[in-house]
Subunit: 350 residues, 2 copies
Amino acid sequence: MPELRKDPLIGRWVIIATERARRPVDFIAPHDEPLPQADCPFCEGKEQDTPKEIMAIRANGSQADRPGWSVRVIPSIKPVLRIEGQLGRRAKGMFDLMDGIGAHEVIVETPHHIANAADLAVEQIHLSLQASMKRIADLQGDPRFRYGLWFKNYGQTAGAGRIQHARSQLIATPVTPLRVKEELLGARRYFEDKERCLLCDLLSQEQASPLRVVINSTHIVALCPFASRFPFELWILPKRHACDIGAITPQELEDLASVMKQVWTRLKSVLDDPPYNCLLHTAPFRHGRGKAGYWKTIEDDYHWHIELIPRLTRVAGFEWGSGFYINPTPPEEAAQYLRETPVEVTSDKT
Amino acid sequence: MPELRKDPLIGRWVIIATERARRPVDFIAPHDEPLPQADCPFCEGKEQDTPKEIMAIRANGSQADRPGWSVRVIPSIKPVLRIEGQLGRRAKGMFDLMDGIGAHEVIVETPHHIANAADLAVEQIHLSLQASMKRIADLQGDPRFRYGLWFKNYGQTAGAGRIQHARSQLIATPVTPLRVKEELLGARRYFEDKERCLLCDLLSQEQASPLRVVINSTHIVALCPFASRFPFELWILPKRHACDIGAITPQELEDLASVMKQVWTRLKSVLDDPPYNCLLHTAPFRHGRGKAGYWKTIEDDYHWHIELIPRLTRVAGFEWGSGFYINPTPPEEAAQYLRETPVEVTSDKT
């Protein structure tokens, strides 16, 4: 009997196929057509092929837009929003619109031509997360922006294009994305009822049983959520309550890097190097909101986390249009595959 | 300058790329690998290859599960929900779940091996819509179900699989899908403020200018919505306010068939036979809701419509996880292409 499961955060129902569940071998990986390495603009030595760097983590003495960096942040070559200008919020009849102002940056996670972040050393992942945190903090200072959307596409099916060089992206937007708004609302509703954070409750319940937990590290937990929309969907959460990833401690960030490395490595092993998307859900920026007390509430009830979605299935029209998903792999089975795969996670690779 | 546009119904912001907009020729149609016609279970004469029919529109005297039908409704061969059993709503710790009970039916829209509903006669489309209406009305009588999700996938990319035979599907679910819930909420908010239906207001504003209108027929309008998430996205709406498609008049249904034929034909012509999804958004079933007055409100503020999404672009992780879409083709340009393409919409084809 299939199960209908409800996501506790935003109230989305998901159909979980419990019989004839699809196993890892049932998912056929799509075939990428990579650009030759010689054409990669993100490799060390190709700094002139990209816009000027916004920041970089560099060896002492090395010059901007020259070799010598370990992580480099540049404006996107194809920005979806423009950095210059004012918002111009206005109406067109009954409709609302504004100019497409925002920042769109690319965090190049390694100077070497390595496609999957799973193949980076933990230290390298740590550096790239540090750079991302710095950029989020910096964009937070711009009063035009309300949200910093950090994400990572790996593989062509996941939208990474033909350049196979590990990177993440950061888009600062003048509006809070709908999905985050829904989560803020769901978290608040739960808090109003229970006076506790929903994801804190979820963490304590999930850690009590290994059923859906993949990694339980010192500060960070990776699990397959109860109402997973997609096969092998993962959430990565901090144990310590914080609405904003900006509040992360150095120890937590180090642990996050190590958990991400493990998660990516286990996914690569279980699903034969699948395409995936990672997306940070964190609190909106702390200004530009009219309502008093708005931020106080979010601090109590929201809990930042990263969502990781392997792109294994074709999403049908029914799911698109209804927000009602069918997941052919129960999260308990996905978690077991991910936990039990024998992988060696070394910290000194590359 | 790109534009940020807000969907008035659910408050979703969309980035519309107004420069370097993608035109129809920029979208590469994916390649389908159809099953041979001989293997199609939906053709007339292959009735034994499917489950027993639930209903059919048949020539007088022809027997069930035999040739002689023009539209045939059967249970899905791969149902995502099971029809037998009780819901068993229950908790698992903090989580909510129930058994995956529901109906999943396939409306075979023609006895002939024709893939695209654009190539059916208007009369044939009309018959298949009539059959769909009958099935929705019938499932509405089952107290376990709250919603009837009618949709249509065309092309492999859109989830139609390898069988190229025109059909739509109907899934009755014990829960209201999230997207519909959000629309109900947005429609109510607007009504509380204005004491008018949002989509009635939208229709009167859009009809005053040809900018985004593709077809303005006697009872039905097809338009590209202001905050289209996808290139060439279309909404098909009735001019007369009704929350429930079940309230459609015979004249309106006839007009709907003719508008759908035109829309599909124009899409096929402009975008070289693209894959697409159609999805009906209508009011939930009229029972099983605890709150008094719930239905009265929906009657005033909700307005049924069909959403049509051509599957032309790969959706990136950023859009998945944030609900924040990037649309490379402004709806005004899409509407113009669709309006101006020279197509001959005959009513006697096939």
